[in-house]
Symmetry: C2
Subunit: 193 residues, 2 copies
DNA sequence: CGCGACGTTGATTTGCCTCAACGATTGTGG
DNA sequence: CCACAATCGTTGAGGCAAATCAACGTCGCG
């Protein structure tokens, strides 16, 4: 159960056996069926989760009911609403399973305890957040400077596996266009070849 | 010279006198005149800088010459290209002073040394990056779900000081529209009142 | 003084949205 | 296991937000 997360952690920091044991003791194993919410708008997010199995999306929902997808997460990715989690305030996000999923989660108090006992984890989480920031900067730039077609092709290239697993209308919302328009983009792509 | 940064650091972590002295010894004080580049596309970013005085922007530049502004930074803000800095690879960004500016900078090796000697700094930088990520998520969502008018008003509300200090066409690029269109948005806003 | 940076305005075009209608596929309760 | 509903993707018509291009006025500064 912990083999995946141990390999994950080892990429960033080195821990003794006792430290690993302590770490494990702070984690909770959860199974969640497809189409369930880990978090809904208005709730305070009290988990950070590493995905062992499954697929999860986080998205905003505006008053008109339009979803804007912030992230698709699959195996070896973390999901949370860090703003809500770290500032302990209500979230604007929904986090929903797209497939039956298995997670290892840690809550706010246990994460604080973890940092206290094993400061090296500050480093790991700093590096994780740092990488997320870099990726989001790139994505923000794409959303402003590129056309829907370019963003779609880039998505396929970057996340070929995810593209197989999630429905097309959600890919549309991820790249920031309507499902109808993505369908039209695809049909012009086919005509080109 | 260090009073601002000491106050800044104290918001996140507590340091002894010796630790502060060590920290100070790793910083470099720089003055940079208006309209100079701290970083240009293709260079590896070897600094993180706290702004003591002045105003700086970071932006992408596409092949057609269009700028997309990622950040305006003024007093008490940090600037860098963290991706380039931490992965030591060429940047896609430009970082340019908009006013005569004064900075405290730290380079890659000294930051590594800092983390090694005073692990608490991992915490501070984690929290900083975390906050940046939260803000950028919000901004990404705005760029997709709101109109130019809404984003402009939100900018004025959020950064009234910056709005006085930077030219209007750069605010346009920050909120992701053309300078001409922002001008039109403003003129319809005036007509409304 | 003259020139470049800046902001405005108008005409035209375009990328994408909304709405509506329609098949195809999936899945689910009876 | 079937029947019906929901989900999903496609296509077309029409509309709107914002881009592009071009011309012009103003101002601050070297």
């Amino acid at each position: 159960m912990f083999s995946e997360i141990d390999r994950f952690v080892a990429r960033y920091i080195q821990l003794s056996e006792e430290e690993l044991a302590l770490f494990h003791s702070l984690l909770r194993h959860r199974k969640v069926r497809k189409k369930n919410f880990l978090l809904q708008e208005g709730e305070v997010c009290d988990f950070e989760a590493l995905i062992l199995k499954g697929c999860i999306r986080t998205y905003y929902l505006d008053k008109e009911g339009v979803e804007t997808i912030l992230l698709f997460a699959v195996e070896e990715w973390w999901v949370s609403d860090i703003t809500s989690f770290s500032e302990r305030k209500p979230s604007n996000l929904f986090i929903e399973t797209l497939e039956d999923s298995e997670l290892l989660t840690i809550d706010f108090n246990d994460k604080a305890r973890l940092f206290e006992k094993i400061p090296a984890f500050e480093r790991m989480f700093r590096l994780l957040v740092q990488r997320s920031l870099g990726m989001l900067q790139q994505r923000y730039y794409s959303s402003i400077s590129q056309t829907a077609e370019e963003r779609y092709l880039q998505f396929l290239e970057k996340y070929p596996l995810v593209a197989q697993r999630v429905p097309q209308h959600q890919i549309a919302r991820y790249i920031g266009v309507s499902p109808e328009f993505l369908s039209k983009v695809r049909s012009t792509l086919f005509k080109k070849h």
